[in-house]
Amino acid sequence: MKRIRVDSTVIVLGILILVIAVGAILVATVGRSFFSPGNIRDILTGMSVLGLVAIGQTLVILGASLDLSVTYVISLASLIAATTMNGNPANIPWAVTLTLIVCAAIGLANGLIVTVLKVNGFIATLGVGLILQGVLNTGFQGSAGSVPWAFQLIGATGVGPLPVSWIIMIALAAVVWFLLGRTRTGAHLFAVGGDPEVARLSGVRTKPPLIVAHVLCSVFAGLAGLLLASRLGVGSPTVGQQGGYALLSIAAVVLGGTLLMGGRGSVWGTIGGVAIFAVVDNVMSVMQVNPFLKDVVRGVVIVAAVAVYSRRAIVRRRTRFGPGGTRTGGDAPAEAAAPAMVAATQALEAEADAADGSASMQGGAR
């Protein structure tokens, strides 16, 4: 009998529906319609950039690493694309290729530093981010290049209420879902993220999956940069930092139920997390909330949403102990014994005290 497990993706969907419901009511109070095609389009457009970054970030976090360099990769990608295109539609294919190659190289560097030099992902990507910041500072003084109209269309057009950028994002999410669920690299990535030592002992080469994850993450950040360039019409050295994409994408990934320690999570959860952010942002813009208060609301929403399901006893890793696991008996006895142990300690101490004080008295009584 197959039991329906309430896994985190379902909970994320639940939260999303709740957020949409509350948002729709709030929007209705100011006399606007939440479900108008224009508004839905706004929300989906708002999802696409963060969505692309977060898909990449999901891969890296599944491998128990982090990528803080995405903000700078986004800025660099927008600049490379815009300056290479330089207003000429004929340059588009070459510009896109070049941008993605550069981003892949950055991701490769990240991956090698994390796997070969064994620097913690947090520090490694922070350092690479600083290096990229230096490159941006030296190479570019301000917005540069120009994007031809043909490329700007990607960010501006849509099919019905669905923006093209959003469709691209969802298609890529499906590709990543396939990669994670149906390919060897994906399975190995889960294994390495869950426990690198166990993965190694089971004959998995631990380095390649993590390197692939880092490369893909940077490529996805590069795609986000391309999308931003197509929306802005120019490349900007600060566009990534302004968006705060590194931390927001990590928040979206965790919101989507992926464990920060790696080894467990899903792409669709991440998309759900991104959607929650987009809806909250949209509702706040419609209601014309003070821009500073928006950050406050964002902060509260992030913590509250994650709190909703992290309190529940969701299997943190695939079941290993207890029913359904390969081993039975594990933490439960220890957990049950904990109060007894504390009590025993206290009893022992009391006994010791009593023994000290009344050794002679006891002797007399016997």
Partner: protein, 359 residues
């Protein structure tokens, strides 16, 4: 010889790096060796080092505190707006700042431990919320120039001392805070934090109130950010960008000091040395005339290299069959401390008692 091996060891790597950087600075700028200049250098490091001390306690427990930078900004703006030009308000506002710091730490800690939200997310949310609230309150522009008596803490000092010439208050504050920090690491709290960072579950089963222990680490961290903010008000003035990015600088400093992200291992003095290394690095880049645009890049390379180096040394020592890892003061979380009645020792006793009970 022993000293040299200690320097090359992972725990000493950060000190070796510090010595190299300081010597390099002195070669390029002989003036730096003067005590007065050295004091100015320490004065500049003090805010970063104090934040790093706070971050250390959170990181050895296996958590992150990303809200430090925002808290500093918030505190600086609070000070700027509330103290104004009134000397009499200095002490009440200082008290208010301490309370605010403790409350922020308490909220961070309780959300992390009781609601079981990852600390990365809790403190990220706190970072956004705090900064947003403060900027909303001030309308986005930080104004106000606190009274001189308040700013003296960060910029003033004792003048006309024989050798040193000038001893800034912030150096004294740093020394006191470090001493306090070292004292805490020797207390049950410090040992329990390392135990929790190493194996939270085992520590919980052995009877420690892990939620309260971890929460106190967050409170120490927020309090450190508050102290740092008080120094920064005097040193850097009131501006919404003061404190920005301090959380990352602090984490980098702590990791440079050989503290393991994920918890369970690390030495507080090395974490402070990490802060000194970072500031020495900025100084060196400044003196060596590296164009300001490239400074970030050089910093990034050195951080990666330093962390990679200490990691490599650490692993090679392990592989080389060294007699275990060199025991550090913090590595024995449940060393029985006769004088102190820590929960860890209680647990040890409890383990022995359990079979007795059954038989």
């Amino acid at each position: 010889m022993k000293f040299l091996t200690a320097l090359v060891s992972p725990r000493g790597a950060v000190f070796l790096l510090l010595v190299i950087l300081l010597v390099a600075v002195m070669v390029l700028n002989p003036n730096f060796a003067e005590p007065g200049q050295l004091m100015r250098y320490i004065q500049r490091v003090a805010p970063v080092a104090i934040v790093a001390i706070g971050q250390y306690f959170v990181i050895i427990a296996g958590e992150f505190d990303l809200s430090q930078g925002s808290l500093i900004t918030a505190q600086v703006i609070v000070a700027g707006n509330l103290v104004a030009q009134d000397d009499a308000r200095t002490v009440p506002v200082l008290c208010l700042m301490v309370v605010l710091g403790l409350v922020v730490g308490l909220v961070n800690g309780l959300l992390t431990t009781l609601l079981k939200v990852p600390s990365f997310i809790v403190t990220l949310g706190m970072m956004l919320a705090l900064l947003g609230l403060v900027l909303w309150w001030t309308g986005g522009a930080a104004t106000g120039n606190p009274a001189d008596s308040f700013r003296q803490i960060g910029r003033g000092g004792i003048r006309d001392i024989p050798v040193l010439d000038f001893l800034p208050w912030s150096v004294l504050v740093l020394a006191a805070w470090l001493a306090l920090g070292i004292w805490v690491t020797k207390r049950p709290l410090g040992k329990l934090l390392i135990a929790i960072g190493d194996n939270a579950r085992a520590t919980r089963y052995s009877g420690a109130r892990d939620w309260w222990v971890t929460t106190r680490a967050f409170m120490i961290s927020s309090l450190s950010a508050t102290v740092s903010a008080v120094l920064l008000v005097g040193y850097a003035g009131v501006h919404p960008s003061v404190g920005r990015g301090y959380e990352f600088v602090a984490i980098t400093a702590v990791v440079l000091g050989g503290v393991v992200l994920g918890g369970g291992r690390g030495w507080i003095v090395a974490a402070v040395a990490g802060a000194f290394v970072l500031e020495a690095l900025f100084l060196l880049l400044n003196i060596a005339g590296v164009p300001s645009s490239l400074r970030d890049a050089v910093q990034g390379v050195i951080i990666i290299a330093a962390v990679a180096y200490s990691g490599l040394v650490f692993r090679s020592r392990r592989r080389g069959g060294a007699p275990q890892t060199p025991p550090s003061p913090g590595k024995e979380p449940d060393a029985p401390d006769g004088a102190e009645e820590s929960s860890a020792t209680q647990a040890l006793a409890g383990e022995g008692a359990a079979p007795n009970n059954r038989s």
